[in-house]
């Protein structure tokens, strides 16, 4: 008997009792559906994380000096020298200084703002575009100007879209606002747009703190490793201790994040697969019932010359078709639910094509695996006993 014939027979048998078939498939539908949903959501989250990192530039190396040795100090000029000596590796460099201080405009104090001292290269390295005005300039740094570049939160919420030329008070000094960075988030308080950049030279001077971190941009992410090596080398020369500094590279960070989310996906999918197993057992159960119900039919088929493998394939194909149908329903259901959930959470959650193919194949495989026992039972029936069965 051919495959198409057996397949038609299986479809006929499934359609002849729709309710029962649907209940049989339920386990597979839920199993495949939840696998698809989990993969879609985790996929969406991973893409979100990766693109968040990527928008910050994958060619950026963050250097922070954590330890301080009284006799050995990292000096900004040394780092500038490292940069200028390796212009074939590095594209830009900025010392960065996280300033803690009170920010005031009028009588209001702003506490959630991230305030950073940076160089004129910082905007270029981090792909910050200007909405209005200009970014910090070399002369601002050189001459310790008290100028500030703000995020859209200040421009929109504090200055009514009219911040250029206004003054904001940082640690008691008035800073002139010279530029507004384009919106990156939603301009809300505490968001990425709630930020102020001032020249690191001015910042270091007024807050009496030392520059302890640097941002380097390589000309290409492929140079990240070599750049890291160069920086670490020169830091080690000065500090003589690996624990006093760290260099982190965003490409590596992305890799780690992707690895972590995919590991989490595997665990979650593993848990969801338990329902696939339960679905398989459901199919086995119904197939066993169906074999018992059809013993006479099997006897008739055998008396007409059906061989063991004919009966076997009839039931296997029926089990496989049932679970494949369940799998298709589960996939459609899963895609549908992930779209909805993705919309609610605000990520683009759609399953990858391989994940659809894999869940479909797994559901067919499970049907055949769990259909094996009932099919074998049917195939081994003795024709006379089967014909006599009532």
């Amino acid at each position: 008997m051919g495959f198409t014939q057996a397949f038609k027979l299986a479809l006929k048998s499934i359609l002849s009792s729709k309710m029962r078939s649907l209940l049989t498939m339920l386990g597979i539908i839920i199993g495949v559906g939840s696998v698809i949903i989990l993969i879609s959501l985790m996929n969406g989250v991973t893409n979100e994380v990766v693109s968040a990192f990527e928008s910050m530039g994958t060619n950026v190396l963050n250097v922070s000096i954590v330890g301080r040795n009284s006799s050995r100090k990292i000096n900004v000029n040394d780092m500038y020298e490292l940069y200028t000596n390796n212009m074939d590796v590095f594209m830009a460099m900025s010392p960065t200084l996280n300033v803690s201080g009170t920010i005031k405009y009028g009588t209001t104090t702003y506490t959630s703002t991230s305030l950073n001292g940076v160089s004129e290269d910082y905007a270029k390295m981090n792909q910050l575009e200007m909405q209005k005005g200009r970014f910090l300039a070399y002369s601002d740094l050189n001459d310790y100007h008290k100028v500030a570049v703000v995020g859209t939160y200040f421009d929109q919420e504090v200055f009514n879209n009219n911040s250029i030329g206004k003054y904001i008070k940082i640690n008691g000094y008035q800073y002139e606002i010279v530029g507004v960075i384009e919106e990156q988030d939603d301009s809300a308080e505490g968001s990425t747009d709630d930020c102020i950049y001032i020249p690191y030279t001015t910042a270091a001077k007024v807050s009496y703190s030392k520059v302890s971190s640097f941002t380097f941009a390589t000309i290409n992410p492929e140079y990240n490793e070599y750049g890291t090596y160069l920086i670490e080398n020169s830091l080690y020369e000065v500090l003589q201790n690996e624990n006093y500094y760290s260099v982190s590279d965003r490409a590596t960070l992305i890799e780690t994040a992707t690895e972590m989310t995919s590991m989490l996906t595997m665990v979650l999918v593993g848990i969801a697969s338990i329902s696939l197993l339960v679905g398989g057992i459901g199919i086995m159960n119904i197939m066993l019932v169906s074999v018992t119900e059809r013993i006479r039919e099997i006897g008739i088929r055998k008396s007409l010359g059906a061989k063991r493998r004919d009966i076997m394939s009839q039931f296997l194909i029926e089990a496989g078709t049932t679970s494949a149908l369940g799998g298709i329903i589960g996939i459609v259901f899963g895609i549908f639910v992930s779209e909805i959930l993705g919309n609610i959470v605000g990520i683009n959650a759609s399953p990858t094509f391989p994940s659809i193919m894999i869940s479909f194949s797994i559901s067919v495989f499970i049907g055949i695996l769990f259909g094996f026992l009932p099919a074998n039972k049917a195939a081994k029936l003795n024709p006379i006993d089967a014909l006599r069965y009532d």
């Binding site: 008997m1 048998s13 039919e297 088929r301 008396s303 010359g305 024709p383």
Partner: protein, 233 residues
């Protein structure tokens, strides 16, 4: 001439706890091509057992069975299935049609397992259905047919593969006498066309229509010959 069917000292023994049941007890017989044999006997005498062995649905416990000269006494499942498919056509008392399949699909079954192409299947099945006069009922399910019509479908199914032997176990048992006679006349017609027929019945009147009668009692043959002398005591 080699007999189509030859049984040599065939025993079928069932062990029921301490009880040993001899369903057939040393049966030997030869049936040649073109014969119409009726096997008669009381209930429990071993008729069906004998037919199951002849029909390759069962194997003898002891003794030999030659079908067309080759020993088929101890064949494996699938070999038996092959012989049933190619050489034998069954007609059962309870028709044994598959209720989910329509007339055409039921008749196609043995052709399906015989590996015919779908075009051949449909053509052969339609021809067989035409022979039993049910061409207008092709799409009916068995439940939409009378008992006599269902039995005719099962005859069409037995014929479709053009088997060497047609085995009928009480084919008229579930039919009224009128319809029974019609079915029997049809079997006679088939025999006249050259088919070999083995018919099982416990109705002597029906047995009289055959050319040869084999009487069985307690698993043994007690008469084998022409119908005329079969029932005189």
């Amino acid at each position: 001439m080699i007999p189509l069917i030859e049984l040599k000292d065939v025993y079928k023994i069932y062990q029921m706890g301490d009880n040993t049941v001899y369903a057939t007890k040393g049966v030997s017989l030869k049936i040649f091509k073109g014969e119409f044999v009726a096997i008669v006997g009381q209930s429990g005498s071993g008729k069906s057992t004998l037919m199951n062995i002849i029909g390759c649905l069962d194997v003898p416990t002891k003794g030999k069975y030659f079908l067309n000269g080759s020993d088929v006494s101890a064949l494996k499942d699938d070999k038996q299935a092959d012989i049933r498919n190619k050489k034998l056509g069954f007609i059962f008392q309870q028709y044994n049609l598959i209720s989910k399949l329509n007339v055409l699909e039921n008749v196609e079954l043995s052709l399906l397992y015989g590996g015919y192409s779908s075009i051949d299947r449909v053509n052969l099945a339609k021809a067989a259905i035409a022979r039993v006069g049910l061409s207008d009922k092709m799409k009916n399910l068995p439940s939409q047919l009378s008992g006599g019509q269902q039995q005719r479908v099962s005859i069409a199914r037995a014929l479709a593969n053009n088997p060497s032997i047609i085995l009928a176990d009480e084919p008229t048992g579930a039919l009224d006498s009128q319809t029974g006679i019609r079915v029997l006349n049809f079997l006679q017609k088939l025999n006249n066309e050259g088919n070999t027929i083995v018919l099982i019945t416990h109705d002597n009147n029906i047995a009289m229509k055959a050319k040869r009668i084999i009487k069985i009692k307690d698993g043994e043959i007690i008469y084998d010959g022409v119908p005329e002398n079969a029932f005189e005591e």
